[in-house]
């Protein structure tokens, strides 16, 4: 087990900069998830840590040592691939023990380790089978087993659940978390699925365009996004963004989002937003913070009426879509209180959860 650090790491392919000078510290035992849209540089970063891609500039440290020039086999890492990458001609046992055999481990030690990993992953009865006789979920377990037996300093996962169906993905997600709690190895996990990122990670690294947008715990990321991109990327359905103007209204401030709707800014934020009074900004509020008026102690000035365009019953809740000044907004309401499409409905904006974004810099204020 070891800590991993990236210092000003750059990856350039010809004239394209896939990773643009990133810095990241991953303490021992931590489970870090790199998340972002396709082409954001997350897989490239993981592959550089693995040694499968050369670093154009900067340094990568594993366990305090610079590993830039070390081949993958000397970095003491194990990797789980999206398509499992099991050796098709070998049995599960041989697949799992291949790395140990190459490292000339004694036979009884190999057997002990494989049996131990197989027990953790519940694949003991599959050890004699070939990969083609396994289901997708079983193959993924074997791929994890191959990583576990090596007892490496760092686990690297490259979108390991992308090839599984939705139900199995949830199952394996729990499995990965359980395994990490058991073996407690520093883990770097790449995914484009924000739900995976939020559920698995101790800390999430959100990447975009080859840069790190934010590094934070899942809760922090959700409630305190630092940029427009992170605010929009984390959360499903995505956060609503509405063009607005911040207005001084007596002692308080209000966010004007249309000619008819302006919402009060909580007093606790007044000082923070004082410098942007009168400016054109982006108002951000998650769908779950636009509901039917619920709380008895609510501020009536946070309520507004909206004509619903689309209503999507989800069972536990109903998504309602309406437009504000030509921009589509989504709210999550109780199924019992939802109106039909074309009807007007009173909604409540939980302004304690609001965000204001500077459209010029893309930073959350």
């Amino acid at each position: 087990m070891a800590e991993v650090a990236l210092r000003n790491v750059v990856k350039r392919y010809d004239n394209v900069e896939a990773v643009r000078s990133i810095n990241l510290d991953i303490p021992d035992n931590e489970f870090v998830v790199l998340v972002g849209p396709s082409g954001c540089g997350k897989s490239t970063t993981l592959r550089m840590i693995a040694g499968l891609e050369e670093v154009t500039a900067g340094d990568i440290y594993i366990g305090g040592d610079i590993v830039n020039d070390l081949p993958p086999k000397d970095r003491d890492i194990a990797m789980v691939f999206q398509n499992y990458a099991l050796y098709p001609h070998m049995s599960v046992f041989e697949n799992m023990s291949f790395g140990l055999k190459l490292r000339k481990f004694p036979k009884d030690e190999i057997k002990k380790r494989v049996d131990h990993a197989a027990r953790i992953l519940d694949i003991t009865e599959l050890l004699d089978r070939k990969p083609k006789a396994l289901s997708g979920g079983q193959r993924q377990r074997v791929a994890m087993g191959r990583a576990i037996v090596r007892n490496p300093k760092v686990f690297l996962f490259d979108e390991p659940l992308s090839n599984l169906d939705a139900k199995l993905r949830v199952q394996m997600r729990t499995e990965i978390k359980r395994v990490h709690q058991l073996v407690k190895t520093t883990t770097v996990y790449v995914t484009h699925d924000q739900v995976e990122a939020m559920t698995l990670a101790d800390r999430v690294v959100v990447m975009n365009g080859g840069l790190i947008e934010q590094i934070a715990t899942p809760q922090d990321l959700y409630h305190h996004p630092r940029t427009h991109f992170v605010a929009g990327f984390i959360g499903s359905p995505a956060m609503n963004f509405i063009r607005c103007r911040l207005e001084q209204n007596g002692a308080g401030q209000r966010v004007r989002i249309s000619d008819t709707i302006s919402l009060p800014v909580p007093a606790s934020r007044a000082a923070r937003f004082a410098s942007v009074n009168g400016k054109e900004l982006l108002f951000g509020l998650r769908p779950e913070h636009i509901t039917e008026p619920r709380r008895s102690d609510r501020d009536a000035s946070c309520e507004f009426a909206a004509t619903l365009d689309v209503v999507e019953p989800m069972g536990m809740e109903t998504m309602v879509y309406f437009t504000v000044d030509g921009q589509e907004v989504c709210g999550r309401v109780d199924p019992g209180s939802a109106r039909g499409p074309g009807e007007s409905m009173r909604l409540y904006a939980d302004m304690d959860r609001m965000h204001l974004i500077d459209p010029q810099t893309g930073l959350v204020l």
């Binding site: 693995a50 081949p71 086999k73 990797m79 999206q82 990458a85 291949f98 790395g99 190459l102 490292r103």
Partner: protein, 299 residues
């Protein structure tokens, strides 16, 4: 839905099924007709060889008898004389030595070449791969003239070891090309997993790539075997004494004297010479088809 409508729907379904089965029957009949025609067309020469090889010289020479049937009874004399009174066994031995060596050299060179060209991306690798295949397109009927000079210069003229040297010029390009396609069809994560597991490039090749690409390698082996076993132009040009000769040329040159053709022995010799490829094809045909298909579609 009314009973009449249900009956009409059922009748429609029945007629659709009947039409499908009629279509299938016609497709099968057409296939069988053509397959039988092809089989007859291609089996006539071997049949003629077998019939002629089992006749006596006297019957072969007698123009009055029907050449398609054995009139005077079956005899194995042609085989006996061929194996005991001619150099046929020397030709056979030489051919085996040349073929085994050619296949071995071809496989070693091609597997390494295909692995490096197909998997280890380096500057100019794709141009090199194309270049190797282009050399295959130059026919041996053109190559034998410059090759004659080369073989003569290194002192291997009239030696079957010269064949071991020149046959790979025919087999290596095609086998490399087949295996490049096969190696490229193996997911790249497999070598990355092997690298992380601690394998070097040689271990990756021997422990992962060769076993996974075995169908392709066997296909390439069969090709190298066939080319080497059946080569005619090079031995015709480079070999001229009986003790160095191989089957293809040796059988013809020793059994045709001027305008005297020993038809019975020629046919017996051709049959014995065709036996090893026949056995190999029979056992490894599935691999051969799998290998060629992979090379053709994924390369």
């Amino acid at each position: 839905m009314s009973t009449a409508a249900l009956t009409a729907r059922a009748a429609q379904g029945f007629s659709l099924r009947a039409s499908l089965s009629r279509n299938r029957r016609w497709a099968l009949i057409t296939s069988y007709v053509f397959l039988v025609l092809f089989a007859i067309f291609f089996l006539i020469p071997p049949y003629y060889m077998v019939v002629t090889a089992l006749k006596s010289d006297a019957e072969v020479a007698r123009m009055a008898t029907n050449p398609w049937f054995i009139a005077d009874g079956v005899t194995l004399d042609q085989f006996r004389i061929l194996l005991t009174q001619t150099d046929f066994l020397i030709f056979f031995r030489n051919t085996i030595i040349v073929t085994v060596c050619t296949v071995a050299i071809t496989m070693v060179v091609s597997v390494f070449a295909a692995f490096s060209l197909g998997r280890m991306k380096f500057w100019g690798s794709s141009i090199l791969a194309t270049g190797i295949f282009l050399t295959y397109l130059v026919p041996d009927t053109l190559l034998f003239i410059p090759l004659f000079q080369i073989v003569k210069a290194i002192g291997l003229l009239n030696s079957y070891w010269g064949m071991v040297l020149v046959y790979p010029t025919l087999t290596v390009p095609f086998c490399t090309w087949i295996m490049i396609g096969y190696f490229q069809s193996i997911p790249k994560e497999l070598d990355e997993a092997a690298l992380i597991d601690g394998a070097g490039h040689l271990q990756m090749l021997t422990k992962i790539f060769i076993p996974v690409a075995l169908p392709g390698i066997i296909a390439a082996m069969i090709f190298a075997f066939t080319v080497s076993w059946a080569a005619f132009v090079y031995p015709m040009t480079f070999l001229y004494s009986a003790d160095q000769q191989v089957l293809t040329v040796g059988t013809v040159t020793s059994l045709i004297r001027g305008d005297v053709y020993k038809w019975g022995m020629l046919m017996a010799g051709a049959l014995v010479a065709a036996a090893p490829p026949l056995v190999i094809y029979a056992f490894l045909m599935d691999y051969y088809i799998a290998g060629l298909t992979a090379g053709a579609t994924k390369g």
